[in-house]
């Protein structure tokens, strides 16, 4: 590679007095002085959350209001900091959703442990756990920082996604039981 020596230009007298530079700097800061603020008044104004943001993990329901989690515990298994603790439970046989068979009895995410990695969302076969736009978790005690099941559903809401795979499966099973074509 060729070395190109660059002659350093000698400073002009005006540059050596440093005054034009100071005046230029003063002009710049004055422009910023009168320019509108670039900050947000945080608690009142909230930043716009971009799509695909990975905030607090939450649990979601399907459009029929059924909790999507079937307590397979894959997320509990994959969670690197072991923030998730699931107590699996059965769905009562007289329930309309009895064909899904299982749902979590308790579902705790310890937000003091969670590292927002999103592995739980990635591993979930039921698309039941989602990292959503909630980004601010505060509390005065350790207990307050643990999201229990009802809180998780409250944060998560409903996934507007009409797969309804368990209902389809049930319909198919029913059809098979009646028609016997399988």
């Amino acid at each position: 590679m060729a070395v190109i020596p660059v002659e350093r230009k000698p400073l002009t007298l005006a540059e050596r007095t440093y005054i034009p530079q100071i005046v230029h700097g003063l002009k710049t800061t004055f422009r910023h002085l009168v320019a509108p603020n670039v900050t947000l008044e945080y608690p009142e104004q909230r930043p716009e959350i971009p799509g695909g943001y990975r905030g607090v993990p939450t649990l979601v329901r399907d459009p029929n209001g059924r909790e999507k989690c079937v307590s397979c515990q894959l997320c509990e298994f994959v969670c690197p900091p072991k923030a998730i603790r699931i107590t699996p439970g059965e769905i009562a046989s007289d329930s309309a959703q009895a064909h899904v068979e299982r749902a979590p009895q308790a579902f705790d995410i310890d937000m003091l442990r969670c590292i927002y990695c999103g592995l739980c969302q990635e591993v979930c076969p039921e698309e039941a756990i989602w990292l959503q736009t909630q980004y601010s978790m505060t509390g005065y005690t350790r207990e307050e920082m643990v999201n229990h099941k009802d809180r998780l559903y409250e944060l998560g809401g409903t996934l507007p996604d009409a797969h309804l795979k368990w209902d389809k499966k049930k319909a198919a099973e029913d059809a098979a039981a009646h028609g016997g074509h399988h």
Binding site: I22, G25, L26, T29, L33, N37, V38
Partner: protein, 384 residues
């Protein structure tokens, strides 16, 4: 207004009243400056600055309370209260006497110099301007310099008494810097006083006479000295920044390399005294600059206070002309303090060797050359 009531009071009552007035004016002004500094730094950096604090029992007041809240004035009160009430520890390794003495010494020149700075003038019934000043001494500018130069002791003593290395370095830097720039500062105002003291006059160093000589009739007479002697004004300005330890000359407390400089070991009320003293110096320095180079209480070059009072038909009233003059002067001082802060949030700090080079090798020869040039010019003009 009947002023004889006041002058009938015994002298010690008047002196006490004047002292209280100085404190009552300068302290809130310095405090307001500190909040202005925070606000201006915030605006320059694109932030709103402190705008949240408000005591709950004042929240119901419409318009006024939200405006004060947005301006951060309640934050100011909270900060002041904090300085008074928080614990004020004296570290174990310090020289206690000088450690306590230093912040007190900082306040003395800061509050004393204001006494000889005229802050306005009123027109008496004969139309002559009479200065509004606590002590109208003949040696005005020298008194400001003399008492102001005592400010260096607080910094040196604070640095030395703290008995640890960063304050010590800050104190050494401060003493060298303050003494260096005092020379250029004094030399830079000499042309002004050569011009003011025309031959045949009684000879004066009074700041009031400087202001009055900037409102003479004619093209040259009405010109401010900032226009007539730009180099003097420039040197005085730079030296003023150095003397008040403001950016880009805040060597004594350059937090990047000296933690907090001379006040590293200080906290609470003693620290706030240093803080207030710095702003008082700034206010007095701005006032002196305005008097010397920006026409004092005369609204514009070639437009004197007398002319404006004539246009407004208030020339007969001492109170109104006095108020007008004081407002004009204060307005200029506030604008100048804004300039101080504007520069602070624009320029980076000089290196210490640059400060010394600038002071001794650039400003001092420049001010001497400036003095000689103006002395020759004034001699030629007087001869003609």
């Amino acid at each position: 207004m009947d002023s004889s009531l006041y002058f009938d009071l015994p002298i010690w009552v008047r002196v006490t009243l004047q002292g209280v007035a100085v404190i009552a004016v300068l302290f809130p002004l310095a405090a307001a400056c500190s909040m202005a500094e925070r606000k201006i730094s915030a605006w320059i950096q694109g932030r709103p600055g402190p705008n949240r604090t408000i005591p709950p029992f004042l929240r119901w007041i419409p318009v006024v309370a939200p405006v004060l809240q947005k301006l951060g004035l309640f934050q100011l009160a909270a900060d002041g209260g904090k300085f008074v009430f928080k614990e004020d520890p004296i570290p174990g390794h310090v020289n206690k006497v000088y450690f306590v003495l230093a912040p007190i010494l900082a306040m003395i020149p800061a509050l004393t110099t204001i006494a000889v700075v005229p802050f306005g003038a009123y027109l008496d019934s004969a139309g002559r301007a009479v200065p509004l000043v606590l002590a109208n001494v003949d040696v005005g500018i020298l008194a400001v310099f003399a008492v102001g130069s005592l400010g260096v002791y607080s910094v040196i003593l604070a640095g030395w008494a703290s008995n640890s290395k960063y304050p010590f370095l800050g104190g050494v830097r401060a003493s060298a810097q303050l003494i260096s720039y005092e020379l250029s500062m004094t030399l830079s105002v000499l042309p002004v006083f050569l011009w003011v003291n025309a031959p045949g006059g009684s000879g004066t160093l009074s700041l009031f006479d400087v202001v009055q000589s900037q409102s003479q009739p004619g093209f040259w007479g009405g010109m401010w000295y900032g226009v007539l002697m730009p180099i003097s004004a420039f040197i005085f300005l730079v030296a003023l920044f150095a003397e008040t330890n403001r950016q880009p000359f805040d060597m004594p407390e350059s937090e990047a390399d000296l933690v907090g400089g001379f006040h590293t070991e200080y906290g609470a009320f003693k620290w706030s005294l240093f803080f207030v003293a710095e702003y008082c110096h700034m206010i007095v320095g701005s006032g002196v600059f305005v008097l010397l180079f920006l026409g004092g209480w005369h609204p514009l070059p070639w437009v004197s206070l007398e002319m404006v009072s004539g246009w407004l038909h208030i020339a007969g009233s001492p109170v109104l002309t006095g108020a007008l003059a004081t407002l004009l002067f204060l307005g200029k001082v506030v604008a100048f303090i804004f300039f101080f802060m504007w520069v602070r949030w624009t320029l980076p700090r000089f290196r210490y060797d640059q400060v010394m080079t600038l002071g001794w090798q650039k400003l001092l020869p420049l001010s001497i050359a400036n003095l000689i040039a103006y002395a020759l010019a004034i001699a030629l003009i007087e001869r003609a």
